[in-house]
Amino acid sequence: MDLRFSAEDDAFRATVRAWLDAQLGGEFRHLRGKGGPGHEHEHVEGRLAWERALGAAGWVGLGWPKAAGGRGLPLLHQVIFHEEYARAHGPGRIGHIGENLLAPTIAAMGTEAQQRRFLPAIARGEELWCQGYSEPGAGSDLAGVQTRAELRAGHWHLTGQKIWTSHAAISDWCFVVCRTDPRSARHAGLSYLLVPMRQPGITVRPIRQLTGTAEFCEVFFDGARCPEDHVVGAPGDGWRVAMATLTFERGASTLGQQIGFAAELEAILAAARANGADRDAGLRRRLADAWIGLQVMRWNALRMLAHGARGELPREALMSKLYWATWHRALGELAMDVLGPDAEIGAEIGAEIDPEAAAGGGGAYSLTPLQETFLFSRADTIYAGSNEIQKNIIATRALGLPRGT
């Protein structure tokens, strides 16, 4: 048992910190703390520039194999990067999906031509990707995908609809799981296509969510095309490729995420001290319990990462989504209970409702950060595998219980 970082780790951390401090204290100062879950609408142009700055400085693809143009850094160094990134209040990473999902997939299963075409642009922070998995009729059930692609004259022609697609409006590319064998069902006959987003035949419609902002999009394909060779793996092999993509997220960003959680918790603690909610023994214990839950989350993450650094992630890693989503949702509820009746009152307290904004439809709906946490965290237990799906996965994969029929 040795839970210290090495001297080499510490040196790497210092390098990261120095660079981030310089950038986020300078040119990109206005981006500090912007973007991220629930805030993807903020400072989009600035954050696109930031992606290019990260790429130029070599901070994209830290964990990719060197052969694929990455730096091949060990998992713990990636973790350190994310920790420092969070501590420096780095803006929400628009490039996350390309860097951490698509790129490793192409590196592992793509052709050499695909690697040459796509990886450098991702590493430079120049091309952005979004993920085309979910559909209105296939949320948790990827095998229920109905978007179709037909091969004609050297191009795949796509028809169908994807949903819950983050960054669709600003992405250059989308990796799309779709049905290329019309007679197939379920897992068979799916393919994994790389589709340019900026073309006729693709319509993106933002989905307004309960926070009033639009975090996700619907993407409609109606005759959209991509070249025949923009398929990862063989046609019909899309299920396997799609599943592989899901395993590439090694959790390196987990500790960074937790630094964000810690900041939220600190804000709630401060609110409780300020409004006297901490005089209530029940709230005190819930606050302490939230703190305990966050420590345990950190210890879980360290354990998984320390293990993962030596190879495959252990079966215990299957619980991390369920854990943080449940914790964070409860934190949102705790925040509201700490604020008491004032929890209702929105951001522009002290100001009248703006009648013009209200007339514009949707009403002026400006939430406080804790209200946003409360509302947006309802999605945490739904997206990227709902709590129910996570428990199914733990039961069958970690515990070996027989699949339900």
Partner: protein, 377 residues
Amino acid sequence: MRFAFSDEQDELRRAVRRAVEARGGARAAREVVDAGGDHDAALWRTLAHDLGLAGLIAPEAHGGAGLGWVEVVAVQQELGAALAATPWFATVALAGAALRVAADDAQAAALWPALARGARTATLAPGAGVAARATPRGVTLAGVARHVVDGHTAGLLIIEAHDDAGEPALFAVDGDAPGVRRRRLPTMDRTRALAEVTLDEVEVPARARLARAGRAGRAAIDHALALARIALAAEQLGAAQRCLDLSVDYAKVRHQFGRPIGSFQAIQHACAELFVLVESARSAVYFAGWSADHAPDTLADVSAATAAYCGDASYRCAADTIQLHGGIGFTWEHDAHLYFKRARASRALLGAPDAHRDAIAARLGLGADHVAREGAT
């Protein structure tokens, strides 16, 4: 023994349901929200004028129907199911409760007729934020009442104010009286307006103090709040039932993995747990409504128990409704978030569940010598 609405009470309930459904149910509330408006004026017209419900509990002598809290429960249940954005709750269940409990005959005669006709709306502003100072001409009120339901639109404000000795009383104040400043607060739940009411040395005559013999001061306010909480619980019941209905209906039609999600045990058990909450809330609300009219001795406990139970139950139903709907339940387009936000706001209105539990604990003699013992250690 009959533990259900009478035929007349049920017809009242159905009439309200028809009225809210004619307005499209929760769609009407959504329109109010999207327009940044205060109320669904059309629905209010139907309730107040066509159905005469503004005078539901007003004495017949003052133009009302003279009915009781079981009828309030019947109405509120349906208004809650549709998240109806009307002045009914504040006017009848809040201010009306206060008048019922604390107004003497002259005050009732002066205040009820306009309310009963639906010509004037009203609200109640409980709390310790306003001071009452006796003057030669009457009473001067000064202070701020926050989170007042419909406080910026109500024609009549019933305001709790405390004298120098800390004794509280209720005062009837015209919403437009000189020195009254009011503004709507920006709330997360936009289907029920909350306002801040500032009283800047507002002078009222002595007769503005509600003073029914033997039913004034703390006891009257507590009694009025006990009634108001039952009305709120009825609204929560209606909303919780609607959430369960939405969830069950969706679980029957939404397919994943080749079968309706309602055939998965995880979904079934979640719905079953909500069913227990909803039906238990119904028993509580009906019993509490009956107690309000027939069992005043136990009303405080019954109301607190009902408020605690329904506050938590309705929040849980609304929260789980989002989860049971998956992604779609998280969108602005779907009604789930409107119920969720209302449930959260209502759970903090008129006292949080834990505050009701504390009140019951005190009545059970728990922690009675808390301070004494703390001092001794």
